[in-house]
Amino acid sequence: MKKTDHLKYYHQMVLIRRLEEKAQELYQLGKIGGFLHLYIGQEAVATGISAAMAEHDHVITTYRDHGIALTQNMDPGVVLAELLGKQTGCSKGKGGSMHLADTDLHFWGGHAVVGAHLPLATGLATAFKYKKKPDRIVCMFGDGATNIGYFHEAINLSKVWQLPILWLCENNQYGMGTSIDRASAVSDIRNKADGYRMRNADVDGMDVLAVKQAVTRGLNHITKHGEPYFLEVITYRYLGHSMGDPERYRESAEITRWKEDDPIGKYRKYLLEKAIAKEAELDKVEDDVEVEIINAVTFAEQSAMPSDEALWEHIYTNPASNKQGVLF
């Protein structure tokens, strides 16, 4: 692997971390409304996924979507603008934190109904396969989503129709406030794939290179064998489910333990120990990210809110239909 790749991954993880911290701040200042689900602790997962994806691959995920948005090359200013509800946001301020997307970047969005994007992923994969494209889709979802009906319907159909999907479970040990063993008959999530005779694996989600390797392996399997694949990524979120989560469901000692495995810290240590990068180079990455974040905040704060007319846009594809037959 090239040094530039290493530095890129380090940069991406630091960027995610700093953006999430900034988002936390802006939320506490009342500038971000609604729900905010932060990716802190899981940076290695999004980074590893995007690193493994080919240009023709796609990704779709849950509402905890800021990480993958950035690793799919969404401009941090555009992310923050969306969080602030500005018209320059990736979803024109119509989606917010849970609904970032940029289909030009092959990122089909964050989705807020747990498990609902899994059937959508089967549809996207069906279209790719029907059109004889080499495209594959990584469908990210949490451990909490593995108990909902959609999970079973979508996983089953993907196997029956042999769809090019990498089902990727970000197992951060909790579905909102409920630990896996309280919610799921099977806590080794990858074993659920066995129930569908689907090839599966698991990987340490705090290790960015391991994630990249595991996703690569999965994508290769999909192409080579023309069938879906299931990857359980074992990770942890350092903050609550969302802002305002009082976290009554876990001990702070547990959080402390997982923080010893901080993906960014681990990777930094690895790069230094293997003499892949020097301390100064990594510090420079962090400094660059500080500037990026400042610029992103400036862009977002200086952007305009959507006009009133934007309320009525994109209800239908023909603008003339947007206000047709409605009651005022």
Binding site: G89, A101, T103, G123, Y150, V160, I315, Y316, S321, G325
Partner: protein, 323 residues
């Protein structure tokens, strides 16, 4: 022109469009090898093959979801939900996703998906197989909801639906498939957002759609024999709602009866009545009357079931009440 059934009309629309547009694929339970439980897709599997006519597992969530995702990915999928009763299992997909994805992501992609689903009762299929749930779908901005009542409209509106980019809930009716009507042999479409006067008259306006259109036309013929001349306005589209022909008619007759197969309270008729009363207040000569299914779950026993469903005598009585 040719005389064909609603079933044939829907089948023709699908077949003709599929022959010219390779992006159209069908998915649903038993639509392929079986030929469709209402025989709409008979012969399609042989003509178009398993890639384009996909039998699915019994899993409405992923049937609807895969159709939506395939639409996002550039295809034009038509998902059949075997009956509208089972569409409830796909409600989150239809209402939370198909209707909203275009909006939520700032118009980044379109969702040109069509859900075909027959509703209606009267065949002793019991409470969970006999419902008319149109109004539930009509409630959601972002969806187009249509319910044609003739072969002409069925073929023309399905073709129109396949040639545009919004998600469409195409509501059919289990006992309307046999209904015959004239259909041109040349290609044509019917707009997805226009109501139409199906029978001109002077004394009372009947507003209706789908199967109840045919029952209302029967009632109109009976009333004509008694010298009562009713105008029948066919909504055809529930969302967007086209009230222009309804208002035009009401201004002429000053009396309205709304006929629907769904339950009365909170139904389609409630919406139409409220709009007429609000926008044509000065033209009202009588209270607006709604004829709807009695609010009971459908029972199995034959005569019992028929009691609840609007029929010609009930419509005739309602028309006389407003005169």
């Amino acid at each position: 022109m040719a005389q064909i059934t609603v079933r044939e009309a829907i089948s023709q629309a699908l077949r003709e469009e599929m022959r010219v547009n390779p992006d159209i694929i069908l998915l649903g339970e038993e639509i392929g090898v079986w030929g469709g439980t209402y025989a709409v897709t008979r012969g399609f599997y042989d003509e178009f093959g398993p890639e384009r006519v996909r039998d699915t597992p019994i899993a409405e969530g992923v049937i609807a979801g895969a159709a939506i995702g395939a639409a996002m990915g550039g295809l034009r999928p038509v998902a059949e939900l075997m009956t509208i009763n089972f569409a409830l299992l796909a409600m989150d997909m239809i209402a939370n996703h198909a209707a909203k994805l275009h909006y939520m992501f700032g118009g980044q992609f379109t969702v040109p998906v069509i859900f075909r689903s027959p509703g209606g009762g009267g065949r002793q299929l019991g409470a969970t197989h006999s419902q008319t749930l149109d109004v539930l779908f009509a409630h959601f901005p972002g969806l187009r909801v249509v319910a044609p009542g003739t072969p002409y409209d069925s073929k023309g509106m399905l073709k129109a639906a396949l040639r545009q980019d919004d998600p469409v809930m195409f509501i059919e009716h289990a006992t309307l498939y046999q209904q015959r009507g004239e259909v041109p042999t040349h290609d044509y479409i019917v707009p997805l957002d226009k109501a139409e006067v199906k029978r001109e008259g002077e004394h009372v306006t009947i507003v209706t759609y789908s199967k109840m259109l045919q029952v209302s036309l029967q009632a109109a013929r009976q009333l004509a024999r008694e010298g009562i001349d009713v105008e029948v306005v066919d909504l055809r589209s529930l969302r967007p709602l086209d009230m222009e022909p309804v208002y035009e008619s009401f201004k002429k007759t000053n009396r309205a009866v709304i006929v629907e197969e769904g339950w009365g309270s909170y139904g389609v008729g409630a919406e139409i009545a409220a709009r007429i009363a609000s926008d044509c207040f000065d033209y009202m000569d009588a209270p607006i009357k709604r004829v709807a299914q009695w609010e009971v779950p459908a029972p199995y026993s034959h005569d019992l079931e028929q009691l609840a469903i609007p029929d010609v005598p009930r419509i005739v009585e309602a028309v006389k009440e407003v005169l």
